[in-house]
């Protein structure tokens, strides 16, 4: 076991796959000698050289178009979109081209590619560099979406994403880059579509993702001290979605809370809540409650951003209130 940062885990995860498979290439803005604007890819350029680790111009459509064309002809590219908000300038390639082409061509083409991107808030970057866009990606048929919450999962899910024959949107919670976690030696490979139960409790279940995972765990500690014992599920993969784990853990406690960083309307928890309502309604002891960022663009100032994102305090109070009413 070694301790790695989330940031270091990105480079290790990509390197693990590039060493194993020559068809894995990596491209993006400032990803080469500079090692990425978040320093998430330091060392890759030195190890794999400028042919496999390629700096691109500021051309997001070209970056993703290149990844798509390379994937349809047998390579396994990993493309970086620096900030997830920038998906808006290349969304056609993601939503219309990559996502639809396999189906439209009756399965003639495959797109084994990964698009990784710095997602979400917490860094005071303001509205155009902070949005949590997992719900954008999740609503497009044909895309898989994963959001790791810790260094070990970064490596395991990166391996799963690279080895998968479908396009995977790999969203890294930017505010987690400096956080540390234990990572075992050797190859780590996860399966897409598997949630993990991080804490088992008897009174309520919290389903959460990415940056919200450490906050939900901290909230669960506080709630436990006050007599509310929570199960915490790290959903990890939105598509495919491990509904069986969520349904099972919800039925076991009778209550479900989602803690989501995305803006409220049509956030991923809305889909989860609807599945729970349809399939295990009679196991519920109270309504499903969603704890989300409000439906606003994210503000920049510390005070305002902290009010917007679900905090440990908000999670605790919301759950406390719901459980005692």
């Amino acid at each position: 076991m070694a301790e790695l940062t989330y940031r270091e885990a990105i480079a290790r995860g990509i390197a693990q796959e590039m060493r194993r498979d020559e068809s894995v290439l990596f491209l993006g803005e400032d990803v080469g000698a500079a090692g990425g604007v978040f320093k998430g890819t330091v060392g890759l350029f030195e190890e794999f050289g400028p042919v496999r680790v390629r700096d691109t111009p500021i051309s997001e459509q070209a970056i993703l178009g290149a990844a798509m064309g390379a994937a349809m002809t047998g390579l396994r590219p990993i493309a970086e979109i620096m900030f997830a908000d920038f998906f808006a300038v290349c969304w056609d390639i993601v939503a219309n081209e990559i996502a639809k082409s396999r189906y439209m061509t009756n399965g003639q083409m495959s797109f084994p590619l990964v698009i990784r991107s710095g997602n979400g808030g917490g860094l005071r970057f303001g509205a155009q560099h902070s949005q949590s866009v997992e719900n954008w990606a999740m609503m497009i048929p044909g895309l898989k979406v994963v959001v790791p919450s810790n260094p070990r999962d970064v490596i395991g899910l990166m391996a799963a994403a690279v080895r998968d024959d479908d396009p995977v949107i790999f969203l890294e919670s930017k505010a987690l880059y400096p956080t540390k976690g234990e990572v075992p030696e050797g190859e780590i490979v996860d399966a897409l579509g598997t949630a993990t139960v991080l804490r088992q409790g008897e009174h309520a279940t919290i389903a959460t993702l990415g940056l919200m995972v450490p906050r939900a765990l901290a909230a669960a500690e506080e709630l436990a001290a006050g007599g509310i014992d929570c199960t915490v599920i790290d959903v990890r993969s939105l598509i495919p979605l491990d509904t069986q784990t969520i349904l099972r853990e919800t039925s076991a406690t009778g209550r479900l809370f989602t803690v989501e960083e995305n803006p409220r309307v049509l956030g991923w928890g809305a889909e989860v809540a609807s599945i729970v309502a349809e399939e295990v309604f009679y196991d519920l002891d109270g309504p499903v409650v969603r704890i989300t960022t409000p439906h606003i663009p994210l503000p920049a100032a510390d005070t305002l951003e902290d009010m917007a994102l679900p905090s440990v305090e908000r999670i605790v109070t919301t759950i406390h209130k719901a459980m005692n009413s």
């Binding site: 459509q61 064309g69 349809m72 002809t73 439209m104 009756n106 048929p141 495919p240």
Partner: protein, 336 residues
């Protein structure tokens, strides 16, 4: 600016093949239009009548393992690579014997086994995608070339510029072919474009040589395409070709194209401008006899008739296709 003249580099057999190809594209599209009016072809379709010399001339310069990226106006580019008429008609009609079993339709014709790597209906999107295929060929050292077709209206969308710069800096084996038919949908491109030659005048911005060709002369198109493709194959990087042409009909469906002056339409449809008539005359001048040409035309007509009937005989796609092939495992499951 280089304007390439027709060069009689090839023997008559090659030219007869190029003629046959253009006649096939013309008659396929003419039938497709009839089938649209008869409500066999649903939705929309965009024909290449008047523009056949480009698809035919470029395809003749390609190696079988090279890649074509086409637009929604892509029937001709698909057929020119050797895809049979029946599955294309059937795809237009939404039949299970269609090229994509009816899942794509007229605007998304794809046949990977023929190197037809898709037809794209979002303006400009396929230019960067073609760059990606070219990058893949470059990385794997396969000598393959990606050829991407698009219209004159496409030069004003960002993806065009991103792709051109990208191809130039990475010296990618990709050939960009702008089919300048003077119009977007219902607006003349010159009314909304800052330069006279929509593609050629932009070449310098990407360090490329401007190439203008008479897009209604299959020999001339073949000659420039061959030069560009072989240059790309040899590691010489991308080319941008502007081929001037005209669509005889409207933009799509039953558009009568009334926004165009009558004299202009008449000029481009005249025997001197129309690519198929022109090529026929050229062959006669080269000494090919009338019966040889008539036989080619009759053969094509028979092929179109047979393909129409075979396509019509196809069943409507069934429910088994609906939830198929969202994912590489063949299915559509997004949850357990």
């Amino acid at each position: 600016m280089t304007t390439t003249e027709a060069s009689p580099v090839h023997d008559v057999d090659f030219k007869l093949e190029l003629y046959r190809s253009q006649v096939a594209l013309r008659r396929f599209e003419t039938r497709a239009y009839d089938l649209f009016l008869e409500n066999y072809v649903k939705g929309t379709s965009h024909l290449s009548i008047g523009q056949e010399a480009i698809a035919a001339g470029v395809a003749a310069a390609m190696r079988p393992d090279d890649w074509t990226f086409a637009t929604y106006r892509g029937h001709a580019h698909t057929l020119a690579r050797g895809v049979a008429m029946t599955p294309v008609f059937a795809e237009l009609m939404g039949r299970s014997n269609g090229l994509m079993a009816g899942k794509g339709g007229s605007m998304h014709l794809t046949s990977v086994e023929h190197g037809v790597m898709g037809s794209y209906a979002i303006i400009g999107a396929h230019l960067p995608i073609a760059c990606g295929a070219a990058w893949s060929a470059q990385y794997r050292g396969t000598d393959q070339v990606a050829v991407v077709f698009f219209g004159d209206g496409t030069v004003n969308i960002g993806a065009f510029h991103e792709a051109l710069n990208f191809a130039a800096i990475w010296k990618l084996p990709v050939v960009f072919i702008c089919e300048n038919n003077l119009y977007m949908e219902y607006t003349r491109t010159s009314e909304v474009t800052a330069v006279t030659h929509p593609a050629a005048d932009r070449a310098a911005a990407y360090g490329l040589e401007p190439i203008l060709v008479d897009g209604n002369d299959a020999d001339a198109v073949y000659a420039v395409a061959r030069t560009a493709i072989e240059r790309a194959r040899a590691g010489g990087g991308p080319s941008l070709i502007e081929a001037e042409t005209y669509r005889h009909g409207g933009h799509s469906r039953a558009d009568p194209g009334k926004y165009r002056p009558d004299e202009e339409v008449a000029l481009w449809k005249s025997a001197e401008r129309d690519p198929v008539s022109r090529y026929r005359t050229r062959l006669l001048e080269l000494g090919v006899d009338e019966p040889t040409l008539a036989r080619i035309e009759a053969d094509v007509d028979a092929e179109v008739d047979a393909a129409t009937e075979a396509a019509k005989a196809g069943a409507a796609p069934g429910e088994d296709l609906l939830m198929k092939d969202v994912w590489a495992n063949g299915g559509a499951e997004w949850r357990n």
